[in-house]
Symmetry: C2
Subunit: 344 residues, 2 copies
C-alpha cells in the first residue's frame, strides 16, 4: 500500500475476502488502513462472521456495504483509497464515488491475487484434500460409466460422491461429454446416453476449505477405435512432456509451447483450441494464465493445471488434466488418477 501511495484498501471480492478474513458468506467488504482492519456485512451474517472473521473489527448493518462503511467513517482520515478494479463493477464504482465524494479512488489489479498465487502449506493441504476427493470420485465413477447411462447421471454421481466425501461443493459445473459432444471443450453434461465406442471427457473438481481441484480424464466406453487410441496417445504424450518441463521461473508461454509443439508435430495442431492451463487455488481459474500469449513468469509454489486436448468436430475429443505444484526445478503432480486409456 505504501509503495502505491494508498492510505486505505477497500476489498470487495468474495474469494479475496475469504482468503484474507476467513469469511465464507455472500456479502461483505473489508477496509484496511495502516491503523484499522474492519470487516462489514449484513445481519444475515452476524453470527457467522463472529465465528469466521478473526483479527478484524466487525460492523454489521442492513444498509448497503458502502453506505455502512461511510456511516461508520471507516475511511476517515484517508485521501487515497485503492479498490479492486477487476471485481468492482462500474455501477459500484459510481456508488463509491457518490458516497465517498472527496476521496480519490485508485484502481488496483491483482493485489490480493498476487499474494495468493504462492501457496503456503496450509493451502496446499486443502488443495491436496480437494484433489484426493476428486481422484477418488473418478475411480468411483468408472463403475457407473457404461452404454445407456446418461451423461447427467454420471455428473450427478460425481457430485454426490464428492459432497459425501466432504467437499463443500463442485468447483465448477461438471463436464461429461461423450462421443461427438467431446469436440465441445466446455460441454455440460446432457441427457445424451453413452454409447459403446464413445470417448467420454470427464472434467470436474471440488472445493475444500475454499480451495479447488480440477481434474480431466478421457475414458472409452467399451473398445476404443484405432483413431481414438492414436489421438489419446498424442494428448497423453503432450501432457507428460509439459508436466516434465514445468517449473517455477519459466515463462508461462514456454510451458504452453511444450504441449502445443508436441500436438502440432503429430499433425493435430489446429485441434488444440484452448490454452494449456491456469492457476488454481481460491478460484478455479486464477493467475497465472498458461497460454501461448502469456509472458508471465511461473512462480515456485504456485499450483497450476496442465490440460492439453484435441477436439475434432464430428468425431469427439480427448483432454487429460492434472494439477501440479511448481517447484524450483520441476513440478509435483498432485493427482493419482490413472492416465492410461481406460476402456470401461
Amino acid at each position: 500500500m505504501r509503495a502505491r501511495g494508498l492510505d486505505a484498501l477497500l476489498l470487495t471480492s468474495l474469494p479475496n475476502l475469504r482468503w484474507l478474513t476467513g469469511f465464507t458468506g455472500s456479502n461483505g467488504l473489508c477496509v484496511v488502513t495502516a491503523r484499522r482492519s474492519v470487516f462489514v456485512s449484513d445481519p444475515r451474517y452476524t453470527l457467522q462472521s463472529r465465528e469466521e472473521v478473526q483479527g478484524f473489527r466487525r460492523v454489521i448493518s442492513p444498509r448497503g456495504l458502502f453506505d455502512t462503511a461511510a456511516e461508520n467513517r471507516l475511511l476517515s482520515g484517508c485521501r487515497s483509497v485503492g479498490f479492486e478494479s477487476q471485481h468492482v463493477t462500474h455501477a459500484q464504482y459510481r456508488t463509491m464515488r457518490r458516497i465517498f465524494g472527496p476521496l480519490s479512488f485508485h484502481p488496483t489489479d491483482d493485489l490480493v491475487e498476487d499474494l495468493a498465487m504462492v501457496k503456503d502449506n496450509g493451502e496446499l493441504a486443502l488443495l491436496r484434500q480437494a484433489v484426493r476427493i476428486t481422484d477418488d470420485a473418478f475411480r468411483h465413477v468408472l463403475e457407473v460409466i457404461r452404454p445407456g447411462v446418461r451423461e447427467l447421471d454420471v455428473a450427478a454421481e460425481i457430485t454426490y460422491f464428492q459432497k459425501r466425501a466432504g467437499a463443500e461443493r463442485d468447483a465448477f459445473e461438471t463436464i461429461v461429454a461423450g462421443g461427438e459432444r467431446g469436440a465441445l471443450p466446455h460441454a455440460r453434461a446432457s441427457s445424451r446416453k453413452l454409447r459403446a465406442g464413445d470417448l467420454v471427457i470427464l472434467d470436474f473438481g471440488c472445493t475444500v476449505g475454499g480451495y479447488s481441484s480440477d481434474l480431466t480424464r478421457t475414458v472409452a466406453v467399451g473398445k476404443a477405435s484405432i483413431r481414438a487410441r492414436k489421438i489419446y496417445g498424442v494428448v497423453r504424450e503432450a501432457q507428460a512432456a509439459a508436466v516434465a518441463a514445468a517449473h517455477g521461473g519459466m515463462r508461462a508461454r514456454d510451458l504452453d509451447a511444450v504441449a502445443r509443439t508436441a500436438i502440432a508435430a503429430a499433425g493435430y495442431g489446429r485441434y488444440f483450441i484452448h490454452s494449456l492451463g491456469h492457476g488454481l487455488g481460491i478460484r478455479v481459474h486464477e493467475r497465472p494464465r498458461v497460454s501461448a500469449m502469456s509472458t508471465e513468469l511461473l512462480r515456485t509454489g504456485s499450483v497450476i493445471t496442465i490440460e492439453p486436448g484435441i477436439y475434432i468436430p464430428g468425431f469427439g475429443g480427448v483432454r487429460i488434466e492434472d494439477d501440479v505444484v511448481l517447484g524450483e526445478k520441476a513440478c509435483r503432480v498432485l493427482n493419482t488418477a490413472p492416465r492410461e486409456l481406460i476402456e470401461v
Copy 2:
C-alpha cells in the same frame, strides 16, 4: 436504445446473453445496433455457439472479446454505446475505453433485466419444471432426514436427486442448517449430525433451461418442542398472509410489511433479519427486491419468492419459502411441497 440516444449496446452479462441469444457458455459478448446483431466468443465455443445462438452473426476469435469486437469493426459507424454498468468491472471498462478510444460509453442499468422481469409462457414453463423437481426433491429427502445423518449428506442427496431428475445444476449452494445452526440464515450444509428435536432449515433450488427455482422448508427431526411449534406457526401465518396479499401493481415494501407486521405482532420482529423475498428467473436473485426499503412496483407476470423467517441465536430458525407468479389481483403459488410442520 433510441430513447436513450444510443447507437449500440454492448452486452456482456452471461445470464443476459443467455436470455437474449441462447448461449450457455462462459465467455461471450453481443453487440446490437439498429442494423446488426453480432455475437462474439472464443474457439472453445465455435460448435456450441453454432447450435445455440440463432439470429446473430457469430464472430469467433482466440483474442479478447473487446479486441475481437474492435478488429471486426463491430462498432463502426457508432458514436454512443451503452454498456451494462452492473456487470462490467471497472477494469473491463478501462479496457473498453482504451480499445474503442473515440467512442462515448454510457452506463445502462437493468436494461435486459427490465425486459426479463415479466415472464412469458415459455419461461414460466421452465420455472415450473425447476419448481417441480425441487418439490419432488423435498419429498424425497424427507426419507433421508433422521438423527445421526450429517447435514452435508442431506445436501448431497438433494443435489443428486435434482440432477438425475434433469436439472442442469443446483441453483445455489444448498442450505441444510439443523438445530442452533438454523439461526444462521445462510449456513452452508456442514458435517454436523442431525439430532432428535432439531428444527432443520432446507433451502435449495435447481436450474432448468437457465431458469431457477428456490424453495425453503423447515422440518423437525422427531418431536418438535412447544417453542419450535410456536415459532413455526408464526412464520407459517406470516408467509400465508404475504402470499394472500401479493399481486402485481403493489409496492414491494408493502408486501414485505405484511409478513413483517405479522411477525412483529407475535413478538418476534427483531428476529426477522432479512428481506421478504426477491425476483426469480434467469438469476436466483433478480429484480424486484422485496424488502422493507424497496419502493419498486411489483409487476404482473414477475416471479418472486416469499420467504419470511425467524432466527433465534442459540436456539435455531424457521423459514418457509414459496415461488409465486404475480397476477393482477392475486398470485399463483408454484410450489406444491407441504407447508405444515413435518416431524420426520
